[in-house]
């Protein structure tokens, strides 16, 4: 099911949460709404879900006008950052909730719940209460609960935001696999660009209530349309007017026509790569990312004079220098 958002505005008092936002989410896609806090990404998701109503504009789900439909009638699955587990119900009853509301026969509900608990790897935990689960388990339960009603679209609001780093990366991979299997149109919100790049096939980057750029993760990373996108999608150095990613900073021991003189300040071993901080022309610090072999070959150490050159750089018109 496709999702279409057209010219949506949403204000909370004086705060403009969504400023004329339009978006097309193709059926079966996995879209990440990315942006800093307060950028409007969660509000957009909640408008799609019907948990907030747009002040102006329209929302279509699967080609049907849904702008004024209550969430109950949108056939969506929604996963909340803090799980929104029904604390007084067992895990199985949580998952069964949507089916019980739809008055499905008991046997069917039971079978479906078992199937879903298996899918989210919570077999045998159906009789527990949410408080007896770990954070990651609770979020998988919430996902099973959302999937139980076979939603047309699955919406996730910072689904992994409250989990620790290791569990988070497990769940990302797992969500990706789940989506590939089920092919349900999925939109998730995150403020973590790495998470967006790892999971989404399309990233919608938002700032100040507007969509700044959308596209495949690689597009946003390699062809950012503005300084904001460039900075948000990864680490960035500024050399003169040019913006350069650390892995695009070339370090040489000999000058050529395009290099600038610099001095090594620090060499940091980051595990799979080496980070070298240099100061260019005795001023602006620049980070470069090198492979271990490169760093070894160059024999870099603090105080050593070197020459740097951006192998790939971008400039943006109208940015202050």
């Amino acid at each position: 099911m496709a999702i279409t958002v057209r010219n949506v505005n949403k204000r909370f008092g004086d705060f403009v949460a969504l400023d004329d936002v339009s978006l097309e989410v193709p059926p079966g896609s996995l879209t990440g709404l990315l942006g800093p806090s307060g950028s409007g990404k969660s509000t957009l998701l909640r408008v799609i879900a019907g948990l907030e109503t747009a002040d102006e504009g329209d929302v279509f789900i699967g080609g049907h006008e849904a702008t004024l439909l209550p969430p109950q009638r949108r056939e969506i699955g929604f996963v909340f950052q803090h799980y929104a587990a029904f604390k007084h119900m067992t895990v199985a009853r949580n998952v069964a909730f949507g089916l019980e509301i739809r008055k499905r026969p008991k046997d069917e509900v039971k079978g479906r719940v078992a199937e879903l608990l298996h899918l989210v790897q919570l077999d045998g935990l159906g009789d527990r209460y949410p408080s007896q689960l770990s954070g990651g388990q609770r979020q998988r339960m919430a996902l099973a609960r959302a999937l139980a009603v076979e939603p047309e679209v699955l919406l996730l609001d910072e689904p992994f935001g409250a989990l620790d780093a290791r569990v988070r990366s497990e769940l990302r991979a797992w969500l990706r696999r789940l989506h590939d299997e089920m092919q349900v149109t999925t939109v998730f919100v995150t403020h973590d660009q790495e998470e967006a790049m790892e999971v989404a096939d399309t990233i919608v980057l938002m700032d100040c209530g507007r969509i700044v750029q959308e596209g495949r993760p690689q597009e946003l990373y390699d062809h950012p349309g503005s300084e904001f996108v460039m900075r948000f999608m990864g680490q960035v150095n500024r050399i003169g007017d040019a913006y350069v990613r650390p892995h695009d900073v070339e370090i040489r021991l000999q000058p050529n026509g395009t290099t600038q003189a610099a001095v090594v300040e620090r060499v940091l071993h980051m595990g799979h790569h080496i980070r070298v901080d240099v100061s260019v022309n005795g001023g602006a610090p620049v980070s470069a990312q090198l492979t271990r072999d490169e760093a070894e070959r160059l024999g870099l150490e603090p105080g050593r004079p070197v020459f740097v050159r951006p192998s790939r750089a971008r400039t943006f018109a109208g940015t202050p220098s």
Binding site: G50, L51, F80, K87, I101
Partner: protein
Amino acid sequence: MFTKLGLRFAALAYLALLLIVPVGIIGAHTFSGGLGPVWDSLTVPDAVKALELTLEIAIIVVPLNTVFGITMAILMVRRELPGKALLSALIDLPFAVSPVIVGFTLILVYGQQGWFGSFFVDRGYQIIFSTPGMVLATMFVSLPFVAREVIPVLREIGTEQEQAAATLGARSHQTFRRVTLPAIRWGIVYGVVLTTARSIGEYGAVAVVSGNVIGQTQTLTLRVSQEYQNFDHTAAYTAALELAVIALVTLFLMNLFHPRKDR
């Protein structure tokens, strides 16, 4: 260490003199004449009538104030309302009014010379010096408890669970019955316990509007003071003991439903 022991001793001694010893002694005093007189004064018709009236008032007041309290709590926490601060103050108002004043204001409204006094009397209803007046007085004094207990619980649980239920297809009445109500149930129970205790134990407000006709408008609390003044101490202490037992049960239930973090 020494000061700590001293402070502990001072605190406990204070509590003992003010609270524990007096309450302990009332039981001893009631049974000082043996079981026989206690049983007799429990079962005389007037005592039975007083207990019945006390319970009757509570049975009318508690459900009404409970429904009101839950409704008001939802209005206060989940709805956008103009004048919420004022409404909140109004809900708390009964805590600030002396019980005697409550009774007095009811006389001003429903008494013979009151606003609606003749209206009801002409139609054959007596409010003041009769059960309806005592019910109104009890409603007034026990009005805030349920709302006051449910409001913080409702705030605490937040709206996410309700929103989750909505996205899963639950209509608002289904969400209320299956998600909201179970989540606030202990708050409600606690509020109901407090409302019941106050309804049964109210004295001043009821005293003013009751006229205190023995066997007709005498509740247990009125019986305690009346019989004490009549020098029927056994009857007074027996009624007091009934109330004290209800109070202790209340206290037990309060501790059961209101687990504090400090234990």
